[in-house]
């Protein structure tokens, strides 16, 4: 058997190994291949999943919500406008505390219409109450999907999990990958055994009741507590996963950060490109490092602040705009996390890679040159800028 698979193939294969009870399926580029491959597994009888085709993503998520509430483990995949159309139901899933797993193959949002990668879809859903875990490559996309259920289904967490990978760059790129044995995966993920569910005859369940204001606040605080509890559970599951795979994951990955003075904070496949640039800079004696944020929800604020506390200048790389006029979402989180440090590095935000605009190793090297300049002069210059667009020189 081949040892090279695309990100979409890898996630579809992880789904097959898990053999979930229900899939709510509606295709959208670049995640289309996931329901496509999975439909083949269903047709071949390789899984006994109830594959529910629907007329929109609002409905595919509704299927997952209903099925999960009934006591069935449910999965879904989508991208871009599909995720946007689920928006209402994403909140319902999270607030009903239904641990659905969604593979989000990240893609720009319209408009102008564009099918290529950035993080505007998943970042738009960052406050819906879903755990968000991002992959750098196909291996991580596969691993994250397998870790999602043990995280989300834990009683102290009970939240849905969105595993994100970069559209096309990861979803359609064939790379070497190591799959685990199906038996190992099934044992790791286990059965979905919720304490209460709609089809439990001993105590029929009412899900999603109307909350008057005397109750809503309490339920939201419970949800917030669950998101806080998820942090420890994510690390616990990562440790267990390391035992079966030999691959170690944290809330974020620190790359050559031991003595780094200049650092970059970023998410997804671009981190791989930046690692190669950091290696080059290290060879030239530049104390460069990077932090790849893997878990964006819950946001590892304290840990990130600690990891950046010894640096002099940091570039936060946002692969979505956000239109706050004050920098992208990763920047907002990172800057907020650093506020409590006694000694803070200089911080800049660079919005890059929108709609598939490529990030090159040279771009990363140029950013580190800018950071070196900031560290040397103490002058940050413009804090919030964009990278890679055609523009007249001012």
């Amino acid at each position: 058997m081949s040892n090279c698979f695309s990100g979409n193939e890898a996630v579809a294969y992880a789904m097959k190994q898990i053999n979930p009870d229900v899939m709510g399926a509606f295709p959208i580029t670049p995640s289309t291949e996931i329901p496509e491959y999975f439909a083949q597994y269903v047709a071949n009888g390789e899984v006994n999943t109830e594959y529910v085709t629907v007329e929109s993503e609002h409905s595919s998520m509704s299927v997952c919500i209903a099925a999960e509430a009934a006591g069935a483990r449910s999965v879904c995949a989508t991208s871009s406008c599909g995720l946007a159309l689920m928006y209402e139901m994403l909140y319902v899933a999270a607030s009903c505390r239904l641990p659905i797993t969604l593979a989000c193959v990240t893609r720009a949002l319209s408009g102008p219409i564009n099918i290529n990668n950035d993080h505007s879809d998943s970042m738009g859903a960052r406050d819906t109450g879903w755990i968000q875990i991002y992959a750098e490559n196909n291996q991580e996309a596969y691993d994250n999907f397998i870790m999602a259920m043990p995280i989300g289904e834990t009683a102290s967490v009970r939240l849905p999990v969105m595993t994100c990978m970069d559209g096309f760059i990861t979803s359609h790129a064939v790379e070497n990958i190591e799959f685990l044995d199906t038996e190992v995966v099934r044992k790791f993920v286990g059965e979905y055994n919720p304490e209460n569910y709609l089809l439990k005859k001993e105590n029929p369940l009412a899900v999603g009741p109307y909350d008057i204001s005397a109750y809503y606040m309490e339920h939201k605080v419970l949800e917030a507590e669950a998101m806080k509890a998820a942090k420890a559970r994510i690390l616990e599951v990562a440790d267990e996963f390391a035992k079966i795979s030999g691959r170690h994951y944290g809330l974020f990955e620190e790359y050559r950060m031991e003595d780094a003075e200049l650092a970059m904070v970023l998410i997804g496949s671009s981190a791989g490109t930046a690692k190669a640039a950091v290696d080059q800079l290290r060879e030239q004696g530049v104390k460069a490092g990077l932090i790849k944020v893997r878990v964006f929800r819950p946001f590892p604020g304290e840990e990130l602040a600690q990891a950046l506390s010894k640096t002099k200048a940091v570039a936060v790389m946002d692969k979505s705009e956000g239109f706050s006029a004050n920098g992208g979402p990763l920047f907002a989180e990172t800057r907020s996390a650093l506020y409590d440090l006694k000694q803070r590095p200089h911080l800049i935000d660079i919005v890059f890679g929108l709609g598939g605009r490529d990030l090159k190793t040279e771009d990363v090297e140029n950013i580190f040159a800018r950071l070196a300049d900031i560290a040397a002069t103490g002058e940050t210059g413009p804090v919030y800028t964009h990278l890679g667009q055609r523009q007249r020189r001012k």
């Binding site: 009970r158 105590n203 369940l205 899900v207 005397a214 309490e218 419970l222």
Partner: protein, 102 residues
């Protein structure tokens, strides 16, 4: 497991259920929602043919049925809307003014 009847506006969040789930059916029985009627239906058992037309019309499930016979109104849940009086073909239900059955 906490029961719906034990949840109220003084319950601290630690005792509430995730997502506000309710782990039992028919919990409306636990709540007296018929305390504010302005009109009240009166059941005339001698005229009733037990045709059961009134039962599905009642929006508050306030007409109990046992062994194929309708019983006296459940005044803890009846809101006095009067739809049962209109639905009854045998004048076995009449509305009276006031919140109490007279």
């Amino acid at each position: 497991m906490i029961h719906a009847k034990d949840i109220n506006e003084q319950t601290p969040l630690e005792d509430l259920t995730p997502g506000g789930e309710i782990y039992e059916a028919g919990t409306a029985r636990d709540f007296n929602t018929g305390s504010w009627r302005t009109d009240t239906p009166i059941f005339h058992a001698e005229k009733c043919k037990h045709c059961m037309l009134c039962v599905p019309f009642c929006p508050d499930s306030a007409i109990p049925v046992k062994d194929g016979k309708r019983l006296e109104f459940d005044y803890l849940h009846c809101k006095g809307c009067g739809v049962c009086e209109t639905a009854c073909p045998f004048a076995a239900i009449t509305m009276v003014t006031g919140g109490e059955p007279k």
